[in-house]
Symmetry: C2
């Protein structure tokens, strides 16, 4: 029933030559008689022959697969980053196996185990919000598995990584709010384990300090990266002792949640409270009012992380020659800030 899938031995027998010659002809990289090569190629085409990637990989001790670990498919940032990752990967003949952790450290660890067992040639990782430290990553490093981190890292993760300048992005955003006359600027920050959360918070604090303003507890709340938690955090600020006239959120999703909370209280955006997000996901333009935010070059982050990983894998760059790439952000003002 099932049509047989051909092997190079089949081709060799059909042509009355050896399988080595077939193998060589197929990869045109060796001295093969042009006539022979043509015959092989023609037969391969007509039989729709596809050489077995895995057998080749087993032999050459590589799988041509890159493992990607992300917190969730449903975070638009990762959808877009994945497009960049896939583009570069497939350009070099690599496939992707993508695992999502659902923001759980345990799942992250098992994903790593899973992928190394599948003998991926390298790993692209964006940490879960629950990941407390980089122990599991350092183990990978010791084992010599090429790893590049992107977007979400923890402080002690001494591995190649592609990040954005979270600190400056946040400081610029808050400075902008200050410049527009806001006095009581609230901040909803991210999980304290991830560097991105700390950096953005520090940017917020420094922007206030530079303006001679005090930061104060009642205007600060912590969330994760979900809409729901953004809503809750905003509510707690709104119910606090000081009424904010602006809020800077650790990410767009949290900003969306904050907007819901603000509207729910019958307050107007931006008249009563300005809202500033971070990332510039596609939906930032679609909410009402459209969201002012700090734009990240998302796709480029994915592309760059992949390029660097491929440099390690293809041994262009020594594995212990750690590389860090910091990309710039850009402030985008829309209608949620006055």
């Amino acid at each position: 029933m099932t049509k047989k899938t051909y092997t190079i031995v089949d081709l060799a027998n059909l042509l009355g030559i050896s399988k080595s010659t077939v193998s060589r002809a197929l990869r045109d990289q060796y001295d093969v008689n042009p006539t022979t090569r043509e015959k092989v190629l023609a037969l391969a085409r007509s039989l729709d022959f596809q050489s077995n990637h895995f057998a080749a990989g087993l032999r050459g001790n590589q799988s041509f697969i890159i493992g990607v670990i992300i917190p969730s498919f449903s975070i638009p940032f990762y959808s877009i980053a994945l497009e960049g990752i896939q583009q570069v990967a497939s350009q070099y003949g690599y496939n992707l196996i993508v695992c999502q952790t659902g923001e759980s450290f345990t799942n992250e660890e098992s994903a790593i185990r899973h992928l190394t067992r599948s003998r991926v040639d390298g790993l692209l990782i964006s940490l879960s919000k629950d990941t407390p430290n980089a122990q599991h990553l350092l183990k990978l490093k010791q084992r010599g598995v090429p790893v590049v981190l992107f977007n979400r890292v923890v402080r002690d993760a001494d591995l190649p990584r592609v990040l954005i300048d979270d600190y400056t992005g946040a400081r610029d955003a808050v400075s902008y709010l200050v410049g527009r006359g806001h006095r009581d600027i609230a901040h909803i920050s991210g999980p304290c384990t991830l560097m991105l959360g700390n950096e953005r918070e520090q940017g917020y604090l420094d922007a206030l300090r530079e303006a001679g303003m005090e930061s104060c507890r009642p205007l600060m709340a912590r969330s994760d990266f979900s809409i729901e938690s953004g809503k809750k955090a905003m509510l707690s600020i709104l119910n606090g002792s000081i009424k904010p006239d602006a809020v800077f959120c650790v990410c767009d999703a949290v900003a969306f949640g904050a907007m819901e909370a603000i509207k729910g209280k019958g307050l107007r955006i931006p008249d009563d409270i300005s809202v500033m997000g971070f990332t510039d996901e596609p939906f930032a333009t679609l909410v009402t009012p459209s969201l002012s935010t700090v734009c990240q070059p998302i796709k480029q982050i994915g592309e760059m992380a992949t390029s660097i990983l491929l440099e390690y894998i293809r041994d262009i760059r020594g594995i212990h020659n750690r590389k860090e790439e910091i990309l710039e952000t850009r402030l985008i003002i829309r209608d949620s800030t006055r």
Copy 2:
């Protein structure tokens, strides 16, 4: 530098037994002396041994990989479906290689070639909007590659598939609008090649007919699945000879675009025009006003497609015993309809 990765031969040598025994012990599925097994397992644990998936696959002629082809990571439907797919796949020890076509038929064909070359054990496919027919899929079928289609199919695709009842979903939605007193209901439909577009359009037409209303050209426009095209289509309707008091859109993204167009014209939603979407993506609740829509069990679609594919792969169901699964939708009324 790089720590060696161990093989079963290493374990065997270390323990002074044969690699066959190690192999058997590791898979606890054969008669192995409990003591021996314990020794093997203990050593494997302490060495952090991970058996080579591909070598096993090469031997057993399977890769434990499922290929997934989707139009784009950035369509929320697929992010969610992917979660369901991954959940079921990993439960059975399968990995996912995901390719996106970017809505291009050419890319779809090359993704298929790519994945079969990688010897995936089966394929989960949702067609691109440009795919004109099912020729390429039938070729897969002839080659005996297990394939399950989901969500987006073309009419002549005689393969196992998981769909929703697009027709009924659409008819119910439009009937609801009729029942709420709307008289001039517009429709923005999808690409005419995909069944989903035709079915939803037919549901729209039949709902009107049942109510004794005429459908008319000026109230119908075609789009793809993008926000931009939804906006453009809505604009063309708005500039037409008949002013609609409601619009039923082929999907949520198109509805978001339509909402932008309507607002841009200074019209109010739902007071002047009601808007109805299809799918119930997460952002349906976040736009203003929140979007009334037809809810699909997205994650369940992914889970079910994967379960069925696995049945074929694991030969529980004969490959020529085609199976079609049609899931129900549910109308969700929010604030975009009056």
